[in-house]
């Protein structure tokens, strides 16, 4: 869904703010809340106040990418007023951050005032990992045992947010963690929102290949900064385990926020 292309000048990052808005995304709110909680804890531990707007629901992406722009517009319109202060908006997902950054202004319609508001929100929206690296300057001591992990970067983080090296850099700052690169790393995991429901054959082929490539690294676990990809990959791996009668998950996965927090002493394993 890239509205921009690689090579777009890197964003200008603000200085470390006193507070941020946390836009959790619908998937995190309902399915992976611990990833959201861990992201909030990471930010607060750095002395940043985290504001959780209670009226947040969804960025509108599911309807937008499915070709229901009016339904997407209604949801986006309901979200525009959530961020009255001039604080950065942090999103623990490249895909939802990409939606806000590149598509809200278009989705919202022709009204110039609404467009301007959407653009202003977009300008201060950051994906969690890039925020941790470029704004917070995350650099905590790794307190965990030596381990090897593998990283999957979502297509949106890679192509819309241009942040595919950010996750690697954050992991590189953990002294006892080595990163195992997997085959066809830049390839999509096959989730694609409603694509996985509408074209299960192709989606399954893609996610099975992704699972195989990740497992082939021999890494102890998967780390990713997008819950959509994480659920797609780990639920596929779980199904393969189930079909093979394995009780121990062959490819456990964690959101990057959870992994970072756990490794740096903020959370019990």
């Amino acid at each position: 869904m890239s509205s921009h292309t690689p090579g777009t000048p890197a964003r200008t990052y603000p200085p470390r703010p006193e507070a941020v808005y946390f836009y959790a995304t619908c998937l995190v709110d309902m399915f992976v809340p611990e990833a959201g909680m861990d992201a909030i804890t990471l930010l607060e531990r750095e002395g940043i106040r985290v504001i959780f707007p209670d009226n947040q629901t969804c960025c509108g992406q599911p309807a937008f990418t499915s070709g229901f722009p009016e339904e997407a517009r209604q949801v986006v319109a309901s979200q525009l007023d959530l961020f009255p202060g001039d604080y950065p908006i942090v999103v623990p997902s490249g895909s939802c951050a990409g939606m806000i950054l590149w598509h809200w202004e278009k989705v919202i319609g022709a009204d110039p005032a609404l467009k301007a508001r959407a653009a202003a929100v977009a300008a201060r929206t950051f994906e969690l990992a890039e925020f941790l690296l470029h704004v917070v300057g995350f650099n905590r001591k790794d307190e965990g045992p030596a381990t090897t992990v593998t990283l999957h970067t979502s297509c949106s983080a890679r192509r819309e947010m241009g942040t595919h090296l950010v996750g690697r850099e954050l992991l590189a700052r953990l002294g006892n963690v080595s990163l195992a690169h997997h085959d066809h790393e830049s390839e999509c995991c096959g989730f694609g929102g409603t694509f996985s429901l509408k074209h299960p054959d192709v989606s399954t082929a893609m996610v099975s290949d992704k699972v195989a490539a990740l497992k082939a690294t021999g890494a102890s676990q998967l780390v990713t900064a997008d819950c959509g990809c994480m659920l797609n990959i780990t639920k596929r791996a779980a199904r393969e385990d189930q079909d093979a009668g394995r009780s121990k998950p062959s490819l456990p996965g964690e959101h990057l926020a959870t992994f970072l927090l756990r490794r740096t002493g903020g959370k019990q394993a």
Binding site: M30, M37, T57
Partner: protein, 483 residues
């Protein structure tokens, strides 16, 4: 020679009904051989392209320039087409306009009849595939023989191209060896690639001399000079355009550029994006028929300019970007869906990402509305497109056009063809839920507290995955509890 008897005649473009498309995609992903050969071929092509662009800055600026040239050309398209016609006519080229495939075929059949042509030898042309040229000629008793090696193989096999640049990429050398042994008299089975190419060249060499007409495509038509540019690697394009007495070129109306200098960057980015070549083996510039004491060249040159739905895309500012395409095929090489299903499963002349955005204009959305949904919107196609077509955005747009409730005066043929009252209602409900925070909170509270009621069967999701289940408590509950 059995080659003339066997070709794609009798195989009209597959009807892309939703059911047929799903069935073909299902078969393709379960075909281990197909999966393996496309994966290998696409990996090879991606690596070759990457090696051509070691400098990301140079790639970015060349893509920017190429996009600008294509957009500039399209902005002036009606004027440039008239200018092209005037200058080609001045150069002695006869220009024909065709709105539909039938019209294009009728024009070319008329030329063939005037020359009492028995055999037309063809250079590679996707537009000729688009209009089912071979089929139309065979039906009228005129032979049409492909001379591009890949197209020749596909024709022998009675198939259609599975890739716009490498038409026979789905065939193994063993399959090709069997085809040759079966169809070319006096040829024994050999899967030595060099030997196979020599066999093909020998057969085709005779045909160039025998043919009454040569047909070719066009990569760039230069308006200011009246020049047709043709990019190729095998020399068959040059043979087709110089040896027979009559040369017919056919192309879509979007292929025109204003100036000769506009060709250089497009040519450079085309070969590097397509096959990972710094330059193609041949680059032909055709400016007219044989003149005065020229020692070779055709006596007659024709250009057929085909619309076939392109002006529908042209009429819309966003969809117009579809016409920036220079047919390099990089989008399919990098597409995770194409890599897994190959080109034939799409059932369209142009497969892969470009096929999904161009076919709806050529065939209407009734037949093609499911194609734009067959994408995870990963963005790999848009990322490598040499002229920066925002393919994912256009896919989303086409999904919207397909979903819209049918209404009078549609801007697209088949608009609303994918309309499903039930799905539309579901999205309306979704919007009601998610655009009203209080309702959303109530819904998510119920969904988490009653998560034991979550269905175990979740449509396509649970076809290959364990089911999704809401967490016991929402993030917003955890945030509240903590404070």
């Amino acid at each position: 020679m059995s080659t003339q008897a066997r070709n794609t005649a009798g195989q009209p473009i597959a009807f892309v009904s939703a059911q047929a498309l799903r069935a073909r995609m299902h078969d393709a992903v379960n075909d281990a051989h197909l999966r393996q050969s496309f994966r290998g071929a696409m990996d090879f092509l991606m690596a070759k392209r990457a090696a051509q662009f070691p400098d990301e800055g140079e790639l970015d600026s060349l893509r920017g320039l190429s996009e600008a040239i294509r957009q500039y050309s399209l902005t002036k398209l009606p004027d440039l087409l008239e200018q092209l016609e005037a200058n080609l006519t001045r150069n002695g080229v006869q220009v024909h306009w065709a709105e539909t495939p039938d019209e294009a075929n009728a024009i070319m059949l008329d030329i063939a009849r005037r020359h009492q042509a028995k055999l037309i030898v063809k250079g590679k042309s996707m537009v000729s595939e688009e209009i089912e040229f071979n089929h139309a000629m065979e039906a009228a008793g005129v032979g049409a023989l492909e001379s591009d090696m890949g197209e020749y193989i596909v024709q022998l096999a009675g198939e259609k191209p599975s890739h716009i640049i490498m038409p026979a990429i789905h065939q193994t050398k063993q399959q090709i060896a069997r085809l040759f042994a079966e169809h070319i008299p006096g040829v024994d089975y050999t899967d030595n690639v060099d030997a196979l190419i020599q066999i093909g060249r020998r057969v085709l060499r005779e045909k160039f001399e025998e043919a009454d007409i040569g047909l070719s495509g066009v990569n760039f038509a230069v308006a200011e000079t009246g020049t047709l540019c043709l990019v190729e690697n095998e020399g068959n394009g040059r043979m087709c355009t110089t040896v027979p007495k009559v040369h017919i070129a056919i192309t879509g109306i979007e292929k025109v550029v204003e100036k000769l200098e506009h060709v250089a960057p497009l040519f450079s980015i085309l070969t590097r994006s397509a096959t990972g070549q710094a330059v193609s083996t041949y680059f032909n510039m055709i400016s007219g028929p044989r003149r005065g004491d020229d020692r070779d060249g055709p006596e007659e040159v024709h250009l057929v300019l085909l619309d076939n739905g392109r002006s529908q895309a042209y009429a819309d500012e966003q969809l117009r970007q579809t016409l920036q395409c220079i047919r390099c095929g990089a989008c399919m090489n990098h597409c995770p869906v194409y890599t897994r299903i190959g080109g034939h499963a799409y059932g369209t002349t142009y497969p892969g990402p470009i096929g999904k955005i161009v076919s709806p204009h050529m065939m209407g959305l009734e037949q093609t509305h499911l194609l734009p949904t067959a994408s995870s919107l990963c963005g790999a196609c848009g990322e490598v497109c040499p002229v920066k077509i925002p393919i994912p955005e256009l896919l989303i747009r086409l999904r919207g056009e397909a979903n819209s409730a049918p209404h009078a005066n549609p801007a697209m043929v088949g608009q609303g063809a994918g309309y499903d009252a039930k799905i539309s209602l579901l999205w309306k409900l979704w919007a009601r839920l998610y655009a009203r925070p209080a309702t959303y909170r109530a819904f998510t509270w119920l969904a988490t507290r009653f998560r034991f009621l979550t269905p175990k069967q979740q449509s396509g999701w649970t076809a290959a995955r364990t089911p999704l289940k809401p967490a016991p408590r929402r993030l917003r509950d955890m945030v509240k509890d903590r404070r």
